[in-house]
Assembly symmetry: C2
Homo-oligomer: 198 residues x 2
């Protein structure tokens, strides 16, 4: 039985990026040290290092992994709902569930990392900016369709609504982690439900 090319390396890589994304939500992207990831996965430091080539590449790989988890947990399920107000609601509810269920131990990966890296220019920040824009763009797009379909209160600005929802969701994540109180999640869920008028 022939050994498949790069099979072991790919398996190790998957284990590592999974651990890295989880660690980053608690310790931050800066605290995502190669040694910590090595300890969490039972590999040697240089084994981890060798698979990525630099700390920054490991950080970028953790972002890739987190994006994939976010799409699976929040975006894809909402695509079942029809475009417009229903999908907009499903995206917000999905986000709140993903935070509350602790898909990552430190809450939303992107909220956590945005707060850390926001004031620090560099390639990591540029990357997080782009991910955040995609998310707000998805909310905006569905708010626009909802407005055109007459599903929102008259005079609602879709971009403004998306900004508001995005800010409230990020704020909910941070407050929930700090206080460990699910009533914060449910309170924000209720606020959003009333805001989008359903």
């Amino acid at each position: 039985m022939p050994r498949r090319v790069r099979s072991d390396g790919e398996r190790s890589r998957k284990v590592i990026v999974d651990a890295a994304a989880r660690i980053a939500t608690v310790e931050g992207l800066e605290g995502l040290s190669i040694a910590r990831v090595a300890a969490a996965t039972g590999m040697s430091k240089s084994g981890v290092f060798g698979l990525f080539g630099s700390k920054q590449e490991l950080q970028m790989a953790a972002i890739d992994e987190a994006r994939s988890v976010f799409v699976d947990q929040v975006v894809r399920p909402a695509l079942q709902a029809s475009e417009g107000i229903e999908r907009l609601s499903a995206l917000c509810d999905g986000f709140l569930d993903y935070v509350r269920e602790r898909v990552f131990p430190g809450g939303c990966f992107f909220a956590s990392v945005a707060a850390e890296i926001g004031p620090r220019p560099g390639e990591l920040r540029d990357r997080i900016r782009e991910e955040q824009k995609l998310w707000v763009g998805l909310l905006t797009e569905n708010a626009q369709r909802a407005r055109k379909a007459g599903q929102l209160p008259a005079g609602t600005d879709p971009r403004q609504l998306a900004l508001e929802l995005s800010a409230m969701l990020t704020g909910a994540d941070i407050a929930f982690l700090l206080h460990e109180d699910p009533r914060i999640i449910e309170g924000v869920r209720k606020a959003i439900r009333e805001r989008v008028g359903r």
Copy 2:
């Protein structure tokens, strides 16, 4: 002319905690290293260490300083407005100004530190929790008075409103720092103005 007791130490302490609070908003409370504070203030590492006795004491002193700045910049000015809806608005506007004007280089000290330390149990988190509760309590109190005075839409729950406002303000801070776009601050300001109905 007699040398005043502890005068020099007090002056050094003030310079250090000021630098420490600023550094923490960019590098985090964990990244608030004694060496970094020493470099920023021109002191030796052990000089800084000696004045506080441990890294955690330095972190706690930075929190004290940030609290004092927050009260001066956000809370005290709002006390000029009368209790209820006016003060509630003034607190939110003051918060957004304090973020936008970069009183701290990394935005709101408490938002930044809450996001970092939220998932890490310990004395620092307990302290940040208490500060956050005081802030939400201040918002709640004014929302309650506003409701009793009939200044809010019927059926508004004051605690719910305070939670919403607090989440939106934290979210605005983080998004503003990430994108460096003041339209985010102004968009959230507008959303809040409409939410409190004035």
